[in-house]
């Protein structure tokens, strides 16, 4: 595929994502923040649904060597980076996706967050050029690199190669775990709903 076709495919995919996100008000930040702060799960359920479908889809194709899984070493930088990101997205009230989507709706605060994401990236490029951490992709070996605080590379496919068990089997186990979480949320929502109804009935009786 030529780079131009790649960019066109990516633009088409992004456009549909943007449209669906705008129409559904899905927000990844809300999926985590609302579950933590308000015990509401509208977005959390949607996120889990996507994760279930993708787990089966990706590990299924990875079992037969299909798809383009991400290839880079992970380690402390992965945890620490997402920790900072997690704080940032709650403070900004949007993640990188919703900053684009909200900017598209005319939200200047989201555009501001996006501009400062660029600034943050540029600042990091300066720090990286001074301490060279985390390692550049070219120097990653896939093996643990303890001086750089990296654990190497492993995914469902490497498990398949090592253990001889198809990647989809691991995928189905993960699917079951995600489904259990999804069902626990549904149960919790039902309990919240019943409590709410009972409360309303009681206040009606008092009145």
């Amino acid at each position: 595929m030529t780079p131009v076709v790649e960019c066109l495919v990516a633009f088409l995919f992004g456009s549909v994502v943007g449209l669906l996100m705008q129409r559904s008000r899905f927000c990844n930040t809300a999926a985590l923040r609302d579950a933590i702060m308000f015990k509401t799960y509208r977005n959390t359920k949607a996120m889990l649904m996507a994760m279930m479908i993708l787990t089966v889809g990706f590990t299924g194709f990875m079992s037969v060597g299909g798809g383009h899984p991400m290839q880079f070493d992970v380690g402390l930088n992965t945890f620490a980076g997402l920790f900072l990101f997690g704080i940032g997205m709650v403070l900004a009230g949007a993640c990188t996706v919703s900053t684009w989507v909200k900017t598209g709706e005319g939200n200047l605060g989201a555009l501001w967050a996006l501009l400062f994401t660029f600034v943050g990236m540029f600042l990091f490029s300066l720090v990286w050029s001074w301490n060279w951490w985390p390692p550049a992709p070219q120097t990653m070996t896939g093996e643990p690199n303890l001086p750089a605080l990296q654990l190497g590379f492993a995914n469902a496919r490497t498990l398949q190669d090592k253990l001889g068990v198809p990647a989809i089997v691991f995928g189905l186990v993960q699917f079951a775990v995600l489904l259990a979480i999804y069902r626990a949320i549904l149960r919790r929502e039902r309990a919240q709903h019943e409590k709410h109804e009972q409360h309303q009935k009681e206040s009606a009786e008092i009145a």
Binding site: F79, F116, F118
Partner: protein
């Protein structure tokens, strides 16, 4: 059109996105955000600094700026799709935060997101919709990080809101 009048169920929207993402995974790679933004940062920095950008090794070793990087167009597409959706459903209007504390939180939040993405090489999209479904070890490290971060962020947020 009904689609532009009613809010779509996010579970349905995300299921549809997931199915499209499987096609993207087969063609190019899973849906990702962050790489495109880094490339945009590089391109903007190049426009301002010119050849001086070469003095910052990050931009010659990790992310040499070039405009035909497919991830840029996912982000531009999301902006375009959301704009079209907002205009057609008459939900487009200029809005902005009113309080200084909100501007401060957004500024800090944006900076932390940019720094975090580059430190981890991924953002939340690749965590939930890329690494975890690929069962990459990094996905589990990332999800622990983002949950801890979102929890700390929520504490700070509450404090600022209440203060």
């Amino acid at each position: 059109m009904e689609f532009f009048r009613k809010t779509l169920d996010p579970v349905f929207a995300m299921a549809a996105i997931a199915i499209l993402d499987i096609f993207l995974f087969l063609l190019l790679g899973a849906w990702t955000v962050g790489g495109g933004e880094t490339m945009m940062t590089g391109l903007m920095a190049q426009a301002v600094l010119g050849d001086d950008l070469q003095r910052i090794p990050f931009w010659s070793i990790v992310f040499p700026p070039h405009a035909d990087y497919w991830k840029i167009y996912i982000s531009l597409g999301m902006f375009f799709g959301a704009f079209v959706g907002a205009v057609l459903s008459k939900e487009f209007y200029w809005r902005m935060p009113r309080r200084a504390s909100e501007w401060l939180m957004i500024t800090l939040g944006g900076l932390l997101m940019g720094i975090g993405i580059r430190m981890a090489y991924i953002c939340n999209v690749s965590t939930f919709f890329g690494l975890i479904p690929e069962m990459n070890m990094g996905g589990y490290l990332a999800i622990s990080g983002i949950l801890a971060g979102a929890w700390v962020g929520s504490l700070i947020y509450k404090k600022i809101l209440e203060g």
